[in-house]
């Protein structure tokens, strides 16, 4: 068992689709919350093999995409400071701010480094004692434990030149906001596998209890997704609503308590701004008192006033209200080489996925 090919088996996929066809009687709309799901759904052509009355809509699950413009602009302003090294995950490079992007700033000679693990930020800070290393702490609950560990280590090692631009997000409050907004009909959620590996099922219970909607924590291989969809359909047809786990080989009900504890050693829940969804209570993390010195927002720095392209529909796309195909800029003024909005940038962004695979 190598955990890849087994979950891409054509014969099993065909049987699963037959099961879906047999079970499903009513037209439904399911939201895949996570960008990795969106990519997988397109990459394997899953929409095309589902019955027509089952519609999949993409949700706000791409960390780069939901990062508000003002945070991108702040990162760009910081990169222009002579004594700053920006440390970032690669995805952030091409995201357009109001007038520039980190990629363009790097071409201008700013010191911007791409890393793959939060702990590399410590290494870069140590290598440049005369500079301030600023790590762009972007991501959902999957990434937060590693960011928390970077903070803990920096403190332990008395590293005084590592700072964090904290724009982390928590998924469940955003789903609550989507359900409250009622802008889009959602009959069930395909919940993110990686985020749930950390947080488990508890934080999602309100989806079933308060809103009466089913949700299934689902893996990312094509058979995972087909089985997740089937489990959702089964709940809907049986008029049940509960939080189930399809991705059993990784996700436990109580998540990963060690990782959760790390997060809350350094952060506490706090309000956060989401592109498209606005400010949502408890949907992010703020620094605990003893870690506030690492918050880059304490810097006295001038940031240009943020503005977004008036025709960009990223906000609506992130809420599942509009499809990229409804955007006038899509494929005309907005493409992966010259993205107008962040959803065209990230490999997990809905617009980018539509552009690449549709």
């Amino acid at each position: 068992m190598k955990f890849v090919d087994e979950f891409r088996n054509k014969g099993i996929a065909e049987r699963m689709i037959q099961k879906i066809q047999k079970t499903s009687t009513r037209p439904i709309q399911l939201m895949e919350v996570c960008g990795t799901h969106t990519v997988s759904i397109f990459r394997y052509g899953i929409r095309g093999i589902l019955p027509n009355h089952i519609k999949l809509i993409s949700g706000p699950g791409c960390p780069v995409c939901v990062t508000p413009n003002q945070d991108i602009d702040l990162a760009i302003a910081l990169s222009r400071q002579k004594d700053v090294v920006i440390v970032t995950f690669g995805d952030m490079m091409r995201v357009p701010g109001s007038t520039s992007s980190l990629q363009k700033e790097r071409a201008e000679g700013r010191d911007i480094r791409i890393i793959y693990s939060s702990l590399e930020a410590l290494k870069i800070a140590k290598e440049h004692p005369g500079k301030k290393a600023v790590f762009l702490a972007i991501g959902f609950e999957t990434t937060s434990p590693t960011i928390a560990v970077a903070l803990l280590r920096a403190k332990e090692e008395k590293l005084h030149n590592l700072f964090f631009l904290n724009s982390q997000k928590r998924v469940p409050p955003a789903l609550a906001a989507l359900l409250q907004l009622k802008q889009v009909k959602i009959d069930g959620f395909i919940l993110p596998g990686h985020v749930s590996t950390i947080i488990g099922t508890n934080p999602y219970q309100f989806i079933a209890k308060e809103f009466g909607k089913p949700a299934v924590i689902t893996g990312f291989e094509p058979l995972d997704i087909l089985q997740g969809i089937w489990m959702l359909i089964k709940q809907i047809e049986e008029d049940r609503a509960s939080i189930e786990i399809q991705y059993r080989r990784v996700v436990r009900e109580n998540g990963n308590p060690i990782a959760i504890n790390k997060i809350y050693e350094v952060f506490e829940k706090g309000e956060s701004e989401w592109r498209g969804l606005g400010r949502i209570p408890d949907s992010g993390y703020r620094f605990k008192e003893s870690y506030k010195e690492m918050d880059v927002r304490n810097f006295d720095i001038e940031v240009e006033p943020s503005k977004e392209h008036s025709e960009c529909l990223c906000g609506e796309v992130l809420q599942g209200i509009k499809s990229p195909l409804e955007c006038r800029l899509f494929k005309v003024a907005c493409h992966p080489e010259n993205p107008v909005g962040p959803c065209m940038v990230s490999i997990e962004g809905t617009c980018h996925t539509y552009f690449k695979y549709q």
Binding site: R8, R43, I49, R94, N338
Partner: protein, 336 residues
């Protein structure tokens, strides 16, 4: 072009690289030899056909599992000549070295160059070395150019693909870029990750001996298999249907791709080729390929179609289908 500065993505081999060629170079230099934009230029005069090509190598790190920048510089140019059916003979070798570079490492690289040139049967007949100030280059850059002869009756070009043709791939994709990436970023992945860097001239010769009517060959380097297939559809104004289950990808490459959110179809290769052949000859060519040590895992991965010109349609593993586009921007690993 809306950007007014060169970005790293302009060198990725994907769409921005193409825009650069089409918008900046071609308008100034265009001539019948350059225009096909094959891997080498084919120069026909009264003595016969000569193939001529050049390429620069800037890989970081200089040494990686399965090869080094020297081996790459020889294989790359040998392969570019081979892809238009030429037998490579003479190469030039130019080095741009950063002040302070280790003489010992230079010796190692030169010895590696010698070894692979011997193996490929090519001679290095001219060369140049420049040393630049510390910081003006990253350790060492190499440029090689090469000349080869094309024997009569061989006509390989990206413009030759016709509906009905079969598409052959010589083996596992993604090995090179994954080996370099994991070395560069210090990923400690266990397993058999090794660059596939190899000279393909012997394989090409045997394939052409088996069937001189092969229409086109390409080595899917930067931009990967997906980008190269798209280039051919554009040059020949045809469509393609590719069967994903036929594309060989190693378990280790697949696994790391899943981890990082990368797609193996866009990863660079340095010892693989794609061949387009008339439908009736494909099986025979495949047999010859499979008996060669560099192509034991070769497969027929799809066919050329009249429908969907300039598009590659991928039949996915689970029976769906999607458009397989060129590489756009660079491939960056996802955040979570």
């Amino acid at each position: 072009m809306s950007e007014d500065k060169i970005l790293l993505a302009h060198g990725s081999g994907g769409k921005l690289s193409h825009d650069l060629i089409k918008q900046i170079f071609l308008p100034q230099f265009n001539n019948p030899f350059l225009e096909p934009l094959d891997d080498s230029a084919k120069i026909i005069n009264r003595h016969g056909s000569i193939a001529f090509t050049t390429d620069s190598y800037v890989v970081n790190p200089l040494f990686f599992p399965g090869g080094d920048i020297g081996k790459l510089a020889i294989c790359g140019t040998v392969n570019d000549l081979s892809m238009i059916g030429a037998t490579p003979f003479y190469l030039s070798l130019s080095l741009i070295v950063e002040e302070g570079f280790s003489i010992n490492l230079l010796k190692q690289l030169v010895s590696s160059i010698h070894e692979i040139a011997e193996q490929a049967g090519v001679k290095i007949v001219t060369g140049d070395t420049k040393v630049v100030e510390h910081g003006a280059a990253d350790q060492l850059f190499i440029n090689t150019a090469g000349i080869g002869w094309i024997r009569p009756g061989i006509n390989l070009s990206g413009i030759n693909a016709r509906p009905g043709d079969k598409i052959l791939l010589s083996g596992y994709i993604g090995d090179h870029e994954m080996a370099v990436l994991s070395q560069r970023e210090g990923f400690k992945f266990q397993g058999d990750l090794k660059s596939d860097c190899a000279p393909l001239n012997d394989l090409v010769e045997k394939m052409l001996n088996a069937c001189s009517f092969i229409r086109c060959m390409r080595d899917p380097t930067r931009g990967g298999l997906a980008t190269t297939l798209n280039e051919i559809t554009r040059m020949s104004n045809v469509g393609m249907v590719i069967e994903e289950e036929k594309i060989p990808v190693r378990e280790s490459v697949k696994g790391i791709c899943e981890l990082l959110g990368l797609d193996p179809l866009y990863l660079a290769n340095e010892g693989k080729l794609i061949a387009i052949s008339p439908p009736d000859d494909a099986d025979q060519i495949l047999e010859v390929m499979k008996s060669h040590p560099l192509a034991t895992s070769a497969e027929i991965i799809g066919r050329v179609t009249e429908e969907n010109p300039k598009r590659v349609i991928l039949h996915t593993l689970i029976g769906g289908h999607r458009i397989l586009d060129m590489l756009t921007g660079g491939q960056y690993p996802r955040i979570c």
